[in-house]
Symmetry: C2
Subunit: 164 residues, 2 copies
DNA sequence: ACCAACTGTAACTATATTGGTTACAGACGA
DNA sequence: TCGTCTGTAACCAATATAGTTACAGTTGGT
């Protein structure tokens, strides 16, 4: 099914911003946490900005931050912003219309795919970025309790590391 | 998300076989209804046979038919037979483990993806091939009531058409 | 025993999507 | 006006699916 990690990366990105509170994050910082190229992040940030999930600012001291409070951004919002297609696709080429099955399988499959999409959306609509971040925090405090000195402005502790 | 039509095609294929009752269908016949190449169908039939959803027979008068009754084959069975990955994927490259978000986003995302997969599976488990075929039949009788003379052995009315 | 009709499968090409990279125009704060 | 950002185009790489040709092996009919 999904060959793409777009949803996972988008959730990651917005979680970083929620974690950083209102501190604008630069695409380089985000890319460093996601472990990808900054342009890939900027492309995604554009999509997220079009969906009014983030706001970005150009120029020196620029960056991106959440457009709303983390509890007002659901995973469904993110899903719809970055994954345009449904969970499944229909045939690449339309089936044979001279076959009684071929001519009618499309609508029937669409009913099924709608049911599936609805179920997925129902799950995603009930999880917010705030939920994600709060699930994140216990891991940090148990896995790395010594890292308490982390300040929000420096949340990306590895942002100055060489690209290696 | 899904870039593939494998699930749609597989449901189509098994619907044809349910429609054809116990008459074995040749890969050429199936391909003609799906509107693709017979080898593509044979490849998929192999996967479906491995999952014990169809049985195939080589040689003259060979072909494939359902391995069980249509009401005993759910769309979940088909989904698991032909779509190996879940609905979403995680990051292509693992995130930065020096970032408190990056190091913990994976497990949190996996929880979410599991919830999504479970929801999808729940929907698919409740629909059988028999359901699909019975949703198909009304369309046929209303859309083409004159086609009543169709016999099951000749369900693929266009199977002798030129490939055009 | 042979032939014709099938499946199973390898090998290759075509196509599409995503991700990665470089490059650069424009915005903006200091 | 300069350095630091975003936004975006253009291109390449990697991956997955689909389509095609070819052929070995199986099987039923004769």
């Amino acid at each position: 099914m999904s060959t793409s990690s777009r949803f996972a990366v988008a959730v990651h990105v917005l979680s970083l911003m929620a974690w950083a509170d209102d501190e604008p994050l630069k695409s380089e910082q985000v890319a460093d946490s996601v472990n990808t190229n900054a342009v890939v992040i900027r492309r995604m940030l554009c999509e997220l900005a079009e969906s009014k999930l983030v706001v970005s600012q150009s120029g020196a001291m620029g960056g991106s931050r959440l457009a709303r409070q983390p509890e007002q951004i659901t995973l469904l919002d993110i899903y719809q912003a970055v994954e345009n297609r449904g969970v499944f696709s229909l045939h690449r080429h339309p089936p044979n219309r001279d076959c009684p099955v071929g001519v009618n399988i499309g609508p029937v499959l669409n009913q099924v795919l709608d049911e599936v999409d609805t179920a997925v959306e129902k799950v995603l609509a009930n999880i917010t970025i705030k939920d994600v971040v709060s699930r994140l925090k216990p891991c940090v405090s148990t896995a790395a309790p010594k890292r308490k000195q982390l300040r929000k402005e420096h949340v990306l502790t590895a942002r100055n590391q060489p690209q290696g």
